[in-house]
């Protein structure tokens, strides 16, 4: 008996900074048993050894068994490792101590007697430098008629509890976030968790299995960390072969200081998982994010934004839209309308106010219907998305130019063609149609702008059900129309306006110029889609203008040969359309978006903008740079104003240089899907969105407000180093 105990004493071997020994769960075993062996590695303070996937550097510990016949060792069971810095060379390993576990199967026909268990162990140990370690370990296991636990059994059990297990409580979904291009590709991992898995997650991570063909890089972005749902973004670098279709590893859930690992294996879809949870569950905006809903988990009531509050936001946002640069040209029309109507019968004025509001609301209903339809079709929808369609931009350019020509008096908008006959009851009808049209135009021009409050409400709405989208859109419309309805209801407030007279004709013409400016802006937008062929849109506009003049001068105001004039105008229109738009511009088939790599600098000493991609953000952060991201679009006037006043300015340029920041530009002009996804992560339905990522790659980005000042930007950049 004494001899047996003595034989059990394992031999301890020494590396330079790591002591290894072999321990057994049993002091004695019988044939057919499975005994657990543990390779106990004790590292000196500051030294670490590596996990089965060492990561970007290092080497996994290896065990080469020398076992007697009838005894077989299984694979190593690796306890949950730690993620070791630095971030640009992330490794996975163990500090202080680890016990690597190996099951030992004894054959049923094994002869009784002592078993000599031997292994050659080799490892890499690192602190400031790395050293290879190598050692022979051995232990003796008496085989007889009984099974007896050893003194090390408790140690082995406690390390076994740290080996990540497969759990039914985790449902994984994973897919590539962007199509295959280059060697770096972002991967989205999503897991639904049962409440038994982890009650309070503060962070989640993924430790991949090793592969020679690709490397899952160290940086992990926590997109969603909810009690029942996690969503991570990892970057994968490919070395050889095709992109992997399956992956395995460990999902690590952190809750305070405790970490739990779960073994997972999953297939990789070609697209990122859609996300069962509301995109608004992003952790970046506490207070605005509704908790994810799942059966059996009561929603966190305090964090869910109330619908009435969002409707109020939408209303205020709609009000503010009136003074955003997009809608200003329409205000000119409205002022004219009020001057013309102010002295009319109050009932008539009220009616016009309501009709205008109807025009706005009907347009918003149409917009809401489109958004709901697009969402139902499984696509991303966003505010102002119609401006991503070149066809829409061409139509709107033409329309706005015609409005300008109308204001200049080139032609009249009448239904009968007899403008000068307009009198009595007919005028009322004319006024109604005009007011309704104004409402539609105001809405069409308002959509490329977002305003304070509005973005919060829309960001909320776009992730919600159809009825909520409808309600929020109508609230925005009500806000947009409200000032005019109120003014028309209280005509006494309009007394300060001058009396109608000859000056109105001059004012009307003057107001044509802001409209013309809008047309130029829209023309420039179209240029982004048609390139040099945009010239033909200009030609078409001139032909349309000529046709409008012939129509106004010779049909509406002419006395003879009206039919001929009308025919010429129509021929010009049709011919101009067929030649300029169809055969030259190919307006329904704009050029594909060109993705130019490299700098998007606007001037020689401007900010060195790079194209935004999720990979670019992750890479810059992994390299330890703070990152400035500007999501913008050519049609977004607020974005352009922000850029001119607060971003592309000397003090910000100098600051970016000083903190060694990377500047990324996300161009939303054509509505790319990956930016829509990113916007929805920040509860936004549209641009502008400006983000500042701190230097610490694990820290959350700072979301800047919609309307910027240099102070706001500089202050945010200052905070990046903290």
């Amino acid at each position: 008996m004494l001899v047996g105990l003595f034989c059990l004493a394992a031999i301890t071997a020494f590396g330079a900074n790591t002591q290894v020994r072999l321990i057994l769960s049993a002091a004695a075993a019988k044939p057919g048993d499975t005994v657990w062996m543990g390779l106990d590695m004790k590292m000196d303070p500051g030294w670490h050894t590596y996990w089965k996937n060492p990561g970007a550097a290092g080497m996994a510990t290896k065990i080469e068994w020398q076992l007697p016949p009838g005894v077989t060792a299984g694979d190593i069971q690796w306890p949950l490792p730690e993620k070791l810095p630095p971030l640009d060379v992330t490794t996975y390993g163990y500090n202080d101590e680890v016990v690597l576990l190996v099951p030992l199967k004894l054959a049923a026909d094994l002869q009784p007697g002592p078993l000599e268990l031997k292994a050659k162990v080799s490892w890499l140990e690192c602190k400031e430098a790395c050293l290879p370690g190598k050692s022979d370990v051995e232990a003796t296991l008496p085989v007889g008629t009984e099974t007896r636990l050893s003194g090390d059994a408790a140690t082995i059990v406690s390390w076994q509890s740290q080996v990540p297990k497969i759990s039914d409580g985790i449902a994984m979904r994973a897919g590539w976030e962007s199509p295959r291009s280059g060697d770096l590709r972002p991967l989205i991992l999503e897991a639904s968790l049962e409440s038994s898995v982890s009650p309070q997650i503060t962070r989640a991570d993924f430790f991949p299995d090793a592969s020679d063909d690709f490397e899952v890089q160290g940086t992990t972005e926590n997109l969603v960390t909810a009690p029942t749902e996690i969503r991570l973004r990892k970057l994968v670098k490919k070395f050889s072969g095709d992109w992997p279709g399956r992956m395995g590893g460990i999902i690590v859930l952190e809750s305070g200081h405790t970490r739990t690992g779960f073994e997972v294996k999953f297939a990789l879809a070609d697209q990122a998982p859609a996300g069962e949870a509301n995109p608004a569950t992003s952790e970046h905006l506490p207070g605005k994010s509704p908790a994810s809903e799942s059966p059996g988990q009561p929603p966190e009531t305090g964090r869910r934004p109330a619908l009435p509050l969002m409707l109020l936001y939408a209303f205020i946002g709609g009000l503010i839209l009136n003074i955003m640069p997009c809608v200003l040209p329409v205000i000119a029309l409205k002022i004219l309308g009020f001057v013309g109507e102010a002295r009319s019968e109050p009932r008539h004025v009220r009616k016009l106010g309501l009709v205008y509001a109807m025009g706005v609301l009907v347009s918003f209903l149409v917009l809401a219907a489109v958004v709901i339809g697009v969402k139902a079709a499984g696509h991303h929808a966003g505010w102002g998305m119609q401006f991503g369609s070149p066809v829409f931009v061409v139509c709107l350019t033409t329309l706005v130019m015609l409005v300008a020509l109308n204001l200049f008096g080139v032609f009249e908008v009448t239904l009968s063609g007899r403008a000068l006959d307009a009198a009595g009851g007919w005028a009322a009808k004319h006024g109604s149609a005009g007011a309704f049209f104004n409402g539609v135009l105001a809405t069409a021009l308002a959509t490329p702008c977002t305003a304070p409050f509005l973005s919060v409400a829309l960001g909320f709405a776009f992730a919600q059900s159809a009825s909520v989208i409808l309600l929020v859109f109508l609230a925005v419309g009500t806000g947009l129309a409200a000032p005019y309805v109120i003014l028309s209801w209280q005509p006494t407030w309009l007394k300060f306006l001058p009396k109608p007279g000859a000056w109105m004709e001059k004012f009307k013409i003057a107001m044509g110029f802001p409209m013309l400016a809008t047309a130029v802006w829209l023309f420039n937008l179209a240029a982004g889609s048609y390139g040099k062929s945009t010239l033909w849109l200009g030609v078409f506009l001139v032909v349309v203008a000529l046709a409008a003049w012939i129509f106004g001068e010779f049909v509406q105001r002419g006395r003879t040969r009206k039919g001929l004039a009308l025919a010429i105008a129509l021929i010009l229109l049709v011919g101009g359309y067929a030649y300029a738009l169809e055969s030259q511009l190919h307006w329904r088939h704009p050029m594909a978006a060109t993705d130019t790599a490299g700098s998007l600098k606007e001037s020689a000493n401007g900010i060195d903008w790079q194209r935004w991609t999720p990979e670019a953000v992750a890479q810059a952060r992994a390299e330890g740079h703070p990152v400035l991201v500007d999501f913008t679009a050519d049609w977004c006037l607020t974005c352009q104003v922000n850029k001119k006043t607060s971003i592309e300015i000397p003090s910000v340029r100098a600051k970016l240089k000083e903190i060694n920041a990377v500047a990324l530009l996300g161009d939303y002009t054509r509505f790319p899907d990956n930016i829509t996804t990113e916007l929805s992560r920040f509860n936004r339905a549209g641009v502008p969105l400006v983000l500042v990522y701190p230097k610490n790659p694990e820290a959350q980005p700072i979301v800047l407000p919609e309307i910027l000042t240099p102070g706001i930007v500089l202050d945010a950049l200052d905070r990046t180093s903290k």
Binding site: G58, M59, P132, K601
Partner: protein, 227 residues
């Protein structure tokens, strides 16, 4: 957007046909400007080390205080070796003599070999210029230059992860290989029996053939960068 260089260029074509000499001169001047602008844009696009793309240029100082500029070696094949001799993986290649043999072979073929040492000055494995000169002599290292990269600038520019992490740049300045030195990620193997990716890549470039294995997972110790 409307006035992107391409558009200007095609507009200029219309004017180029004119008979007026003044206009033609102006067209030539503007074309040159556009060409220059395009070249500058393309040059700034070369940002990170990517296979098949121009290798990022750098200017560094070697242990003799000499300035080393990658683009000065245009016309020659260049090998970059991320180096730290205290790392057992690097050390294994040097103590077995395999690395020196490879370096000699490469030198005979006119290949430029640059050692990049990115170990930060606080790390015990850091080498001062004198220590480095001594080490180069002791180990009989055959290299065009030993670059003192204690700031980590070159290493980070190329995304060097491990020692040794190898890069091969062809005579046109295009990166054709990056990754492990060979297929035996072990600090105790005999490198002479392994499949050496660097030798293969260089030989393929010299033979005018495509590099069969252009990218592998680098192995070794993590580069001891400055924080």
């Amino acid at each position: 957007m409307l006035f992107e260089p391409l558009y200007l260029g095609s507009l200029l074509e219309h004017f180029a046909a004119t008979k007026c000499r003044m206009v033609r001169l102006m067209v030539i001047f503007m074309k040159t400007t556009i060409a220059l602008f395009t070249v500058l844009t393309l040059a700034s696009a070369a940002l990170a080390a990517e296979i098949g793309k121009p290798a990022p240029d750098f200017t560094a100082t070697d242990i003799n205080g000499k300035t080393v500029k990658l683009s000065d070696f245009k016309g020659k094949i260049v090998v970059l070796e991320s180096y730290n001799s205290d790392c057992p993986f690097c050390n294994n290649h040097y103590k077995t003599g395999a690395m020196q043999e490879l370096e000699k072979d490469m030198a005979a073929k006119g290949v430029v070999w640059l050692l990049v040492n990115s170990v930060n000055p606080k790390n015990p494995s850091h080498r001062t210029a004198d220590q480095a000169k001594q080490e180069m002599a002791d180990k009989k290292i055959v290299a065009t230059a030993w670059i003192d990269d204690s700031s980590g600038a070159v290493g980070r520019l190329y995304g060097m992860k491990t020692t040794p992490h190898m890069y091969v740049i062809d005579s046109n300045g295009v990166l054709v290989y990056q990754g492990a030195i060979d297929d035996k990620p072990d600090p105790m193997h005999d490198p002479k029996t392994a499949h050496n990716y660097v030798r293969e890549a260089v030989n393929a470039v010299i033979a005018g053939q495509p590099v069969a294995v252009s990218q592998t997972k680098p192995y070794g110790c993590g580069v001891k960068y400055a924080n």
